[in-house]
């Protein structure tokens, strides 16, 4: 899972296949069935999944860059590797002497002092920039080099970027809980989504970014978190959400913080609390916890239901639906499930 030392190698054939599929998905030839087929292809083989992850990761990164600002830099004409530079940077010279002494101490000791290791703080260099992903139904807790922890809910993808100046977690998709630790280097810890940047002023908060919702939801349990929008140029207008509050924001607007948590903490307790929730919304939520295809017919999507559901067994939840609602659950395969009216 993106950790140094166990990296999966991708063959040219698989890379080309993944690229070919991505091109079709990005064109008007793409259909729901084809998307499903691609998801299946990824699940077939870790190498497929790795190829896919790398391409998607690049897409995510490009999505985080404001085109109007970075385009000229990325489009600049290529330079030859043999040009003269003329710019002097004498400040790094001392590393050379440092290296000589440390070679004898072995790489582990070296890493504790190298510029690379400085970036990760405590020398756990595989956290330099690491990606973590959970599949449908999985959860994972990641301990970071400074002692902070990030918990990932189902179908979640994050990148961790720790440098000398900052601790940055990029949430690409899904839900996370962040518990910050005091940093001896006093670097700010922040979470970034496509919509904006959340900087921790305190200790525990949760973030949700689900495609289709079009916004980021933040709930703060302890301390406070400052939000600034990705489109904002000055951080001065950041809005602070305090413990016991939640807020939502998209590219343009940060909502006034409200009391409560918008249900964001429920997955940590392994449950989902529905109160007059439309069936369509519940099914969409559950689909993030299951591999394969789970859909709800539009004619039953507006039916409301209430209850407390355990997220560790979504089959059970689906089976219980027909007890309380006029619906039937059709399993074409375990990975192809639809909810229809009776």
């Amino acid at each position: 899972m993106g950790q140094a030392g166990q990296k999966i190698q991708v063959s040219r054939a698989v890379a080309e296949e993944a690229a070919h599929r991505l091109i079709i998905l990005g064109s008007d030839e793409s259909t729901d069935e084809y998307q499903q087929e691609c998801r299946h292809w990824c699940q077939q083989d870790p190498e497929h999944e790795e190829a896919w992850r790398r391409a998607i990761n690049l897409q995510h990164k490009m999505g985080l860059l404001p085109g109007w600002l970075v385009k000229d830099a990325l489009q600049r004409p290529p330079v030859s590797g043999l040009e003269q530079s003329g710019v002097e940077q004498p400040e790094r010279r001392h590393h050379l002497t440092a290296l000589i002494g440390l070679i004898m101490a072995g790489p582990a000791a070296y890493l504790a002092l190298s510029p690379d290791a400085r970036q990760v703080g405590l020398g756990q260099w595989h956290h330099l920039t690491a990606d973590y992903h959970t599949r449908a139904g999985e959860q994972q807790q990641v301990e970071l080099s400074d002692g902070s922890t990030v918990s990932l809910n189902t179908s979640t993808s994050v990148s961790i970027h720790y440098s000398a100046e900052q601790r940055l977690i990029v949430l690409h998709q899904g839900e996370i809980e962040v518990i910050t630790a005091k940093d001896i280097q006093q670097r700010p810890l922040s979470v970034r989504t496509a919509h904006g940047l959340m900087t921790a002023l305190g200790t525990r908060f949760m973030v949700r970014l689900i495609p289709g919702e079009g916004q980021t939801t933040l709930a703060v349990q302890e301390g406070a978190v400052a939000v600034s929008l990705a489109t904002e140029h000055q951080s001065t207008s950041a809005r602070v959400t305090h413990a016991g509050q939640y807020t939502r924001f998209d590219h343009q607007v940060i909502a006034e913080p409200q009391k409560g948590s918008a249900g964001l903490e429920q997955w940590r307790q392994g449950m989902l609390v529905a109160q007059d929730m439309p069936l369509g919304q519940l099914i969409e939520e559950l689909s993030r916890y299951r591999s394969g295809w789970l859909r709800c017919d539009p004619d039953v999507a507006q039916l409301k239901l209430s209850g407390v559901f355990r997220l560790d067994n979504t089959d059970q939840i689906l089976n219980s639906l027909s007890l309380s609602l006029p619906v039937t659950v059709v399993y074409r395969t375990p990975y192809w499930v639809s909810v229809k009216s009776i």
Partner: protein, 173 residues
Amino acid sequence: MQAQGAEYQMHHLYVQNHDWLSRWLYTKLGCCHQAADICHDAFIRILQKWRHQGHFPDIEQPKAYLTTVAGRLVTDHFRKQSLEQAWQESLASLPEKDVPSPQLLLQLRETLEEVDRILNSLPQAVRDTFLLSQLDGMTYKQIAEQLQVSERTVKRYMAQAFAACILLENDEV
């Protein structure tokens, strides 16, 4: 771990090759500080590879090996330098009120560097196509019209870009 043997090998490699490599780099860079930095980085790469593989890399021809590693670093050095220059120019052309906050700038700079490193391996036409698609969100058809090529060519370029970026991660370290 055969750490002691490997440490000796590393030390030996360094002592035997450091001087000529520094001089070689000086002829490429024209600056002794940069030559020293990149020479240092070349040995770091070997340390990283050692760490990554769990055993000391099998280097049959140290001279050729180090020249290749250091040569790549020189190319990368010029890439970073030209990126930095282009980036500073972009920022300088912004009205003051539009300049992003220092924190955002820092994050943009990091992501920009990562993306640039990947895109740099692509031919210019492929790179332009990829940017129009991924940065400007244009459809293949719109790109084809803008660049005056067929939609099939656009798709071929896009596939080439994705495949290259996937394979690039294999070679790191």
